[in-house]
């Protein structure tokens, strides 16, 4: 159906994961967009037959490992988010650029809310509104990627 290769998907996920592993600290850490989730959303919109909820869950486990938290938190957040993405995937490729941006913002916030819920259940404090800043930077990164020529629609249509 698509020309996207499986290797491309996994390689991009690996690069995103290494971006997460970079030694972030201070303000940069608070602003750090969720690279992995952005890449997953991109591939789910573009090639849902290659990258789906299972992929998101699996890479979520690795993010859990990297953050050092309890196993399954990011996995759950990514699963829920990608579910919403998959359900609306067919509509989304018809969206305009701005509509898509709002939708991606919504997905990122869903992911953060899921994570927040899990964290609050395990006895953590609420961090305040700055907790949602990564969603904003994530959308900015998405817009930058779109401006650079990445496109969620099928490759045949984009050319």
């Amino acid at each position: 159906m698509h020309k996207t290769k499986l290797q491309t998907i996994y390689f991009s996920l690996l690069v995103a994961f290494i971006c997460v592993l970079l030694p972030w600290s201070g303000t940069a850490l608070n602003l750090r967009p969720d690279f992995v989730l952005l890449v997953i959303i991109f591939w789910i919109l573009r090639a849902p037959n290659k990258c789906n909820i299972g992929t998101a869950w699996f890479i979520g486990l690795w993010v859990d490992l990297a953050t050092g938290g309890v196993f399954g938190q990011y996995a759950l957040a990514y699963t829920v988010t990608t579910f919403v993405a998959v359900v609306y995937q067919r509509r989304l490729v018809l969206f305009s650029n701005t509509q898509q941006l709002v939708y991606v913002l919504l997905l990122l916030i869903i992911s953060q809310l899921t994570l927040l819920t899990v964290k609050i259940f395990s006895g953590n404090d609420v961090l305040g509104w700055s907790y949602f800043l990564p969603s904003i930077t994530g959308v900015i990164l998405w817009q930058a990627a779109v401006a650079l020529g990445l496109n969620t629609s099928r490759p045949s249509r984009s050319k």
Partner: protein
């Protein structure tokens, strides 16, 4: 027409739209799997070794990710000016001189301390060893205050070891991996540290505040003898932190009429977030059985340790129960560490607080 629509509704999606199991089924399956994992990881201890194995896989990726900043550091170091190096050299010389003097004093004091202890037929204080670790990166979870250092179980770092820097205590090792370990900072909400006010020897427990890099001293009465500017030092009764290390400075005391307790805010002395090197200090096991006392056989269980401590001292029970964050598993002592680590020195060089009975009597965390 209506009948035609009904037909369409009941129709299955054509084969070329097939996507395998429905998204809802996948959501249910993977959510259940995540929840099961979370429950297993937080309540049972099965996943500890799995995590360690996976961290070994993660190690090369981490190296790649750290490479750019390491490269930047080393190049900027290379290009640092001659003048700055000269200045730094001069400063370090001065500092070394000052410290040499106090070191001489310390040797004399340690000797005197040993003699006095022998005179009193008191137990020998615990020995501690330390090794230098470098901070790899700050913890990635915004909800917790953690750092990752480049020493792990391969270098005999054990869970529960104290981590200090040049100015004071900064935290405790809560998880060890083969080549790195995770340090929970004292400002983390889950970490507590038994302290003593340097001025009057009052003991209390400091709790991390979690959000704004401060410590709290809760449950102290409103008329407690603590002033602004008081220094908090480790009390050493927990067997985790060596005695007498600087922890924090009291910066604010709020007494409100509607609460029987004072709200005491302290700022950590150690450079919690601005250092590259830290010292990992673990207190050794007392070797001779005479030291450990006949009452407490070594147990691996935090609860029994706490109970045993309660027999010795009422507030020690609380300490023993609270000094290790909930997700830390008690770890067997590593006797080999005594031989491998070079930087041995006698603990408790400061005779300042002599009222404290010897710490060796108390069961401690690494049992």
């Amino acid at each position: 027409m209506a009948g035609y629509h009904q037909n369409l509704d009941q129709q299955q999606a054509p084969a070329f739209f097939a996507r395998g199991p429905s998204p809802l089924a996948r959501l249910a399956f993977f959510s259940a799997l995540s929840l099961a994992l979370m429950a297993t990881d937080s309540r049972l201890q099965y996943l500890g070794s799995v995590r360690e194995q996976l961290m070994v896989v993660l190690q090369p990726l981490q190296l790649i990710a750290n490479a750019p900043s390491m490269l930047y550091d080393s190049t900027s170091e290379y290009f640092s000016t001659h003048h700055r190096l000269l200045n730094e050299n001069q400063f370090l010389r001065k500092q070394a001189l000052i410290q040499a003097i106090s070191l001489q004093k310390m040797n004399a004091l340690a000797l005197e301390n040993t003699n006095l202890r022998e005179l009193l037929a008191a137990n020998q204080s615990l020995e501690e060893f330390s090794q230098l670790g470098e901070i790899l990166h700050v913890g990635r979870d915004p909800f917790t205050k953690k750092i990752i250092v480049n020493r792990g179980s391969n270098q005999q770092v054990v869970d529960g070891a104290a981590v200090v820097d040049a100015k004071g205590v900064i935290g405790q090792v809560t998880r060890t991996y083969p080549a790195s370990s995770e340090v929970t900072l004292i400002t983390d909400k889950s970490l507590t540290i038994p302290i003593q006010i340097e001025r009057n020897g009052l003991r209390a427990i400091a709790f991390g505040h979690g959000r704004d890099n401060t410590l709290d001293l809760p449950f102290l009465p409103a008329n407690v003898d603590i002033k602004r500017g008081d220094q908090l030092i480790t009390s050493g009764i927990d067997g985790v932190y060596p005695k007498g290390l600087a922890v924090a400075t009291v910066t604010d005391i709020q007494i409100s009429a509607d609460s029987p307790f004072a709200r005491i805010v302290c700022v950590p002395t150690g450079g919690i977030e601005n250092h590259k090197q830290v010292l990992i200090v673990s207190i050794s096991q007392p070797d001779s059985p005479a030291n450990s006392g006949a009452t407490t056989p070594p147990t691996g269980n935090a609860n029994t340790t706490a109970k045993a401590a309660a027999a010795t001292k009422p507030d020690a029970a609380q300490t023993a129960a609270s000094k290790v964050p909930a997700n830390t598993t008690p770890v067997a002592p590593v006797p080999a560490a005594a031989d491998i680590n070079q930087n041995k020195k006698p603990a408790n060089p400061t005779p300042a607080v002599a009222t404290e009975p010897s710490t060796a009597n108390k069961p401690h965390a690494q049992d």
